[in-house]
């Protein structure tokens, strides 16, 4: 159900901008992102950027709160426990994992969206640095 308005999604969601310059050697990539300014870093580059980044999060939040109102607190708690368990079934962070269990739980194994067609992470041109990604995942970074 997509009934929540755009503004309400801005308040309780994850901020987008990374406070570090992106590009080789930590230098600002002027060709891609233009000249630096604090305003550029804080504000999203497109009105849809924030809402798209947090879409899945907000959907889950909304579904869980509806479920809590209908069936009581145990229902979202049990579901979240299952989600947490299913999310752990994956390969190392720099490899592509299929997230089959998580998809089946969510019901997104029976639907296609733009995230399946555009920008497939398996076909991306850049690869994450494996050591960094594993350290980040384990919280050592």
């Amino acid at each position: 159900m997509n009934t929540r308005g755009l503004r309400s999604q801005l308040k309780d969601s994850v901020p987008v901008a990374g406070f570090c310059p992106q590009g080789a050697y930590g230098v600002q990539d002027t060709l891609r992102s233009g000249f630096t300014s604090v305003k550029n870093e804080l504000l999203p580059s497109h009105p849809l950027e924030i809402s798209e980044k947090n879409f899945q999060l907000n959907q889950d939040k909304m579904n869980f709160s509806t479920l809590r109102n209908i069936q009581g607190l145990h229902a979202p708690l049990k579901l979240q426990m299952e989600y947490r368990a299913a999310r752990q079934i994956q390969r190392l962070p720099f490899l592509q994992s299929s997230h089959l269990a998580l998809d089946t739980l969510r019901g997104s194994d029976e639907s296609i969206g733009f995230e399946d067609i555009l920008n497939d992470p398996a076909q991306s041109e850049v690869m994450g640095e494996p050591h960094m990604m594993v350290e980040y995942k384990l919280g050592m970074l």
Partner: protein
């Protein structure tokens, strides 16, 4: 640290990386005086009408890119499911991708439920997707089909609002087509009357709107049968040249004729094989 951004895995879907750069480029281009190229739109006339046993959808076939006709015979009636078809106006790529996405989703849904999909399902999926992208996906659609509850016709706007009506028109030629509908629509028409009405409405759009043109496509959907008539009517045929600039032999009178033979001797003959693979 610069490496932090590389340590998060990338997700699929839309990427907004180049938005700032595009904004900057557009500002620079406007300062110099030129403008960035426009997306290909289907300045269009599309319409649909419900009749006694089903739905008739109609569309013109011109696709424009700014002030130039990009495609003289494009197909604007898209397949969604065996009993549901959708006409698309707006940005051509957006309508194409949107209808294909919804068609795939509907097929998966039908496999999961085991039933023929309903038009209301397609409508709900389309409106939720278009609202999610807040109108940035420029697709205005006329969705029509016949399911277990009878014939249905919906119009869907780029921001996600929908209307369920007996007759709808969309696109730049929608006012011309709607004028024809408002004049001659009657409830519970016969199939031939409905086809003639849709043909006339699209023709009104073609002749009175610059963004619509070329031929008229029709799609008649009834219970168990779909008739995709492309083209139903070639309203604008390309003209045939009436004159010819070639002159016949003898047009110019011949005064004198002088023939000089050139005597050439064969000096050397050599054979080279050609690679004709």
């Amino acid at each position: 640290m610069a490496t932090l951004t590389a340590s998060r895995p990338s997700l699929g879907g839309f990427s907004f990386e180049n938005c700032k750069r595009n904004g900057l480029l557009e500002g620079e281009a406007n300062k110099v005086g030129c403008s960035l190229p426009a997306a290909r739109k289907t300045g269009t006339t599309i319409c649909g009408v419900t009749f006694k046993d089903g739905v008739v959808l109609g569309a013109d076939t011109r696709a424009t890119e700014g002030m130039v006709v990009a495609d003289k015979n494009c197909s604007k009636i898209h397949y969604i499911s065996p009993n549901i078809y959708c006409c698309g106006a707006g940005t051509a790529a957006d309508t194409e991708m949107t209808t294909q996405l919804i068609s795939s989703n509907l097929e998966l849904h039908a496999l999961s439920t085991g039933r023929l999909p309903r038009v209301a399902t397609a409508n709900r999926m389309l409106k939720q997707m278009l609202f999610r992208y807040q109108g940035y996906i420029g697709a205005a659609l006329v969705l029509g089909g016949v399911d277990c509850n009878g014939p249905h016709l919906y119009s869907i706007y780029p921001h996600g609002s929908t209307d369920k009506l007996p007759y709808v028109t969309m696109g730049s030629g929608s006012l011309a087509a709607m004028a024809v509908f408002e004049d001659r629509y009657k409830p519970e028409m016969e199939e031939d009357d409905a086809k003639r009405l849709v043909r006339d409405a699209i023709a009104a759009g073609i002749f009175n709107d610059l963004g619509s043109g070329s031929n008229i496509d029709l799609c008649v959907i009834t219970k168990g049968k779909v008739d995709y008539i492309r083209p139903h009517d070639e309203a604008n045929k390309k003209g045939v040249r009436t004159g010819d600039y070639k002159y016949k032999r003898g047009t110019t009178g011949v005064l004198t004729k002088l023939v000089t033979p050139l005597n050439l001797d064969l000096v050397e003959e050599s054979i080279q094989t050609m690679d004709t693979s």
